[in-house]
Symmetry: C2
Subunit: 699 residues, 2 copies
């Protein structure tokens, strides 16, 4: 996407002396896909309780964040952006509360289930789904758990929940306590889920006594819970005493304090009412006089939370802090920064946003095309049974796999004659039918909520033009996006259909090159600079384990007219075999010089004691799937803004129908990229007066 072109090229310019670049296109600006699992490599395959154990062993403190599901679809879009932003700080996990009244297990985009699934699958965050069992049948609960498992959720916070109505009574064989739910999970799903339960530092309000409540807590742990998160409290002493009391009765699992930074007067009162807690006098004394000053209250809340957290951490008994965020981010980030727990520049295990779905554990290669639409890539590959690990699958390897399956079949049937006479093998058919590994899912709904543009239709029209006059109007939109200058109506172009993120402001260094090519109708949508060995710890380009080196081949992807493509194809002959290309229109076959249609590795890393990691490839097969999506975005996101048959719509449709999508790779990564030169040569050829064939006249 152009946004990355900008960032990338900016960095490229600044590093020109060592002929290497900086940003990887797979990593978008902070706003979008920087939400990769911000932890070490080994963390990726561990379950949550093992991650906790390892952090405790190494003495690394952690934090975690609690969110509640939003009420509206646009609230969901905002919350997911917040996950992406807060994910960059490195929470060990987040958790999503369960709202029985809000259809929490449904497929609605606002349900607890779908929000947690999105956090795991699309934002790459280790997540805990809350689940309350009160007034629920076993079948219903099992259904929720099975669905959660299917969606890739691995952690459940097992709660009783609040009984509905006053007449609630214990049911025999029913779910009366969280303990029953813990037992049910363990009996139905064995060890699949990590289970968290709630602890009450001052005792559950309904418990007969604090001691009685502690015993209940021990029962929950004995039933199979892996760790405890405490209800909020206002004094560090309260939690530390509770912790000691838990240890005294033999609770040995991790117990995390639930921290509630006071963020406003009303929210504090409401929460206190719900939780039946008393606000200590020393807090009331400060808050009451400033109750109408939101900023003052928030400042106090930050300061109070930081002080309390310091006492907790200094006790040496608290391995991590859990924050009740109320779905807000400013105060929480401030507390975490002051505590030094917010990771300013988290290590990225790979250059793109890693999904936390357990099936995708081994995934370490993706096509570059979805670099600025990682959520779309995850969506379209969600039904794959196997993810590429080490190398990008190609047809050849799949064939070998089928062959192997065939052999196994013969072994199993012990009946070679069968396969030989029928000349077919049912297993292969089964696999061909079931395995969608090589195929991408359809993406018909361009308004899937996690792909939704944050801008309204009106805002988009302001940016992209209420009325387009001709193709040049479109070039102008791209150019304005690049230059960050207002368009003729005075509106800045903050996004394009292929990239929902505004232009990163600091990257204006290669503006001239980009402006020039976009103004002439080379409509850039994705790129990365070449990198010839930057340390893996490099703050911009780095990824992967420490002590390694990362590399890239320069990449450029754009739409352009068939006239330009004709000239480009002539120019490209001069750049064989240095430049590989794929050129395709919305209907057409792929014009390419890719040898044997093999994938081309364009990002790779060399690390101590490991095989080589090559996380992005330019792959001919998947380019054809991307082509469909990239062209469809013209229509779905842009043309449909205008009325049917309107001139504006016809212009976009014309581009959609007639332009080509081009990608170029400069294989000579140690040299300065030649891709701009290629485009320049193309323009020169277009500008030159027509020459007779073979230059016979000039001789």
């Amino acid at each position: 996407m152009v946004n990355q072109v900008q960032r990338a090229d900016g960095s490229l310019q600044s590093c020109k002396s060592d002929s290497s670049g900086a940003s990887n296109s797979g990593e978008s600006s902070k706003e979008s896909s920087r939400c990769s699992t911000p932890v070490l490599d080994a963390d990726r395959s561990d379950r949550l309780r093992d991650k906790m154990r390892r952090r405790m062993e190494s003495g690394d403190r952690w934090f975690s964040l609690e969110f509640f599901p939003p009420r509206t679809a646009s609230g969901a879009v905002n919350l997911i952006s917040r996950f992406d932003r807060m994910g960059t700080g490195g929470p060990l996990f987040i958790d999503i509360t369960w709202h029985p009244a809000g259809d929490p297990g449904s497929d609605k985009e606002t349900s607890s289930m779908m929000i947690a699934s999105t956090a795991v699958n699309y934002c790459g965050l280790e997540s805990i789904l809350h689940l309350t069992c009160c007034n629920q049948t076993k079948e219903k609960i099992t259904g929720y758990l099975a669905k959660a498992k299917h969606l890739g959720l691995k952690n459940i916070m097992a709660l009783r929940g609040d009984p509905v109505g006053a007449g609630w009574e214990e049911e025999e064989e029913g779910f009366n306590y969280a303990t029953d739910l813990v037992k049910h999970i363990r009996s139905e799903f064995e060890d699949y889920f990590d289970i968290c339960v709630a602890g009450y530092p001052t005792g559950h309000p309904e418990a007969e006594s604090y001691e009685e409540d502690l015993r209940h807590l021990k029962e929950k742990v004995d039933a199979g819970a892996d760790f405890i998160i405490s209800q909020l409290f206002f004094r560090a002493d309260t939690f530390l005493k509770f912790l000691d009391d838990c240890r005294a009765i033999g609770i040995t699992c991790p117990i995390l304090p639930g921290i509630f930074p006071i963020q406003g007067y009303q929210s504090l009162r409401q929460l206190v009412k719900l939780s039946k807690l008393e606000i200590p006098e020393e807090i009331t004394r400060v808050i009451e006089p400033i109750k109408d000053n939101d900023a003052a209250i928030r400042n106090y809340g930050v300061q109070q939370a930081v002080e309390m957290c310091r006492v907790l951490l200094d006790s040496g008994k608290v391995p991590g802090l859990h924050f009740y965020t109320l779905n807000r981010e400013v105060a929480i980030m401030e507390v975490l920064r002051q505590l030094g727990l917010w990771i300013e520049d988290p290590r990225r295990p790979l250059p793109w946003a890693v999904s936390a779905h357990p099936k995708r554990k081994v995934e370490d290669v993706r096509p570059i095309f979805w670099a600025s639409r990682p959520k779309s890539y995850i969506y379209r590959t969600q039904d794959w049974d196997e993810f590429p690990n080490g190398r990008w699958y190609n047809t050849h390897e799949l064939k070998r796999f089928y062959l192997l399956v065939n052999v196994v079949y013969v072994l199993v049937k012990n009946d070679e004659a069968y396969c030989q006479t029928t000349k077919r093998c049912p297993v292969v058919d089964v696999f061909r039918g079931n395995s969608s590994s090589p195929a991408f899912g359809e993406l018909n709904d361009y308004y899937l909520f996690y792909l939704k543009s944050k801008s309204s239709k009106d805002a988009l029209l302001q940016m992209w033009g209420d009325e387009l006059m001709n193709e040049e109007s479109v070039y102008e939109v791209f150019t304005c996006y690049i230059t960050a200058q207002p368009n003729s109506n005075g509106h800045k172009v903050m996004c394009l259909p292929w990239n929902d993120e505004p232009l990163a402001p600091e990257t204006n260094l290669l503006k001239d090159e980009l402006e020039k090519v976009n103004r002439r109708g080379v409509l850039t949508i994705n790129s990365q600079p070449n990198i010839n060995g930057k340390p893996s710890a490099d703050p911009i380009a780095g990824w992967g384990p420490a002590g390694g080196y990362v590399f890239q081949k320069a990449y450029l992807e754009f739409f352009t007219s068939s006239e330009n493509v004709t000239a480009l194809l002539k120019v490209l002959k001069k750049y064989e075999p240095r430049v590989n290309y794929h050129i395709v229109n919305v209907h057409g076959r792929n014009l390419t010089n890719a040898p044997d249609m093999q994938p081309n590795a364009v990002t790779w890393g060399i690390f101590p004691g490991r095989e080589i990691v090559q996380p992005t490839v330019v792959d001919p097969d998947s380019f054809m799937y991307w082509k469909d999506e990239a062209f469809a975005l013209w229509i779905e996101q842009w043309a449909k803004l205008y009325e049917d048959e309107s001139p504006s719509r016809m212009i976009i449709k014309y581009i959609h129908d007639n332009y080509f999508l081009v990608n170029l790779v400069d294989n000579d990564f140690p040299l300065e990229s030649c891709l701009w030169q290629v485009i320049d040569d193309m323009f020169k050829m277009l500008d030159a007066p027509p020459e007779p064939e073979d230059g016979t006249v000039s001789e």
Copy 2:
């Protein structure tokens, strides 16, 4: 091996300014393993007839070489060395004649079958096995063909052969003509083999007429032969007429002229007698006067062959030349050099010697340990069903594979209950039992003929010492090998048990470093320098397709005493995580800092339009197999030179029992290798006066 240490280090020194090195340890000196398939990458998976077709399409002329099987085992060792040397010139194929009297299909090291198998499997040469059918039963012939197929041979030269005794008559249903053999191969083995048949430019001596013989040839082709090699002839015209006559009757397959450079008076007379050919008068006239001057005859033969070949090639009708070598190399190489067909620096598809066995087509990763013993590696992995392609197998991936097989099994049986109740899956057992993929075969017979030392026992004793006094005597042998200086008895040390090749004379640049460490008992046996991106066309370090870049991590492998290892382990703490190590004694477990026992890629290449190729790894699992072999070589090749219980034998045995095998990888390939510094630090620590723990005294 030390030989490579020398070459490598020499080159490293000469390239120090760009902190890269030169030679890859996987490629030995020209004498040993430079026999990789000296053709382009795509050639590797093609069958011979497809290679020919592609060469004809591109207009690239080729040559091929005919050899006969040796009479003695030492003759076999010499012939295999000749294959390695002549393989470097880039023959499209070689062929091995069939000697019915010499037990040609047996497992004897001198049999046609075993020589052809060695050429394919260990020398990486595309090879044709001759086969004669006269006086043979169908069962016998089928047995030979099945054995050839099993050994990885893919090409057969189908001949009638000479009838034994005068009373030979045609048998009904028997093999009376080569045509019968061609038909038999096609009927029993379908399209598996490429089949070559013989053509007679002046007609077969037993044929009724030249025309009758042409018709027989057409029958052979129609029966399924893929190409024709002609009997020898003395005039280009003879062959060109024959070629035209073949085309005229509809023979369209390639027809290769058989070239017989005259190499001596006696051999000429003998061959002419056998083939019932007449020597043209213009040749007799020159030869007869010089018949006692071998050099003059050979010079004439070279000149005559070159002239005839030029006429053939200039005709435009001859795509390749086939040479009857008589198992000699000088004259043939001279002819090929003068014709410009000898490839002086063949492109290497990979940095190590590629085997031509069809099962190994996809193989592109090997452990570095066998770099100077590639034939041993091929032998020990010959029973593998799958070869690593792209990545080195590790336990984790095998587990995933077994899991997959399990799934297939369940699908096939459609009986999930079976597997769940028995908790085992027979398919997995079958695979575990049958597949030796992860395991290396035993190498008990250290005198397997293709691993045999070219030196006699006496020569070895002269080099390695008739009598060893102590461990320092052994250090002295290593040091002499490094310095290329004579030992105290005045004999140069030309080989060591881990490397049968003499020291490459041109590489003396890092002699001082190596001499120093070997003299102090760091007994180096293998190494490679770091390379930070050399062009793939680099004459020394290059491999793989054009336009790419090759890389290496510095590697050093040596035996050393436990005292040294104790110091080394302390020193290595300073080099974490830059240096990975594996340290093991003959009995012991692997002391290592390899993360998760993963393989470490130490050679890799980046090429246009491809995924990354990583052909050598340091792999913890296979290092344990190599360890057994490396330690065993002390005993099998060195200690056993001396009498039982003799002091010399006890000294070698002491080293075998007490020393450690160490390998070191410097992961920081862009920087100058730190491995010599590591050794230096170890020596400094050993030389320093003993310090109290924690340095308390010095404070």
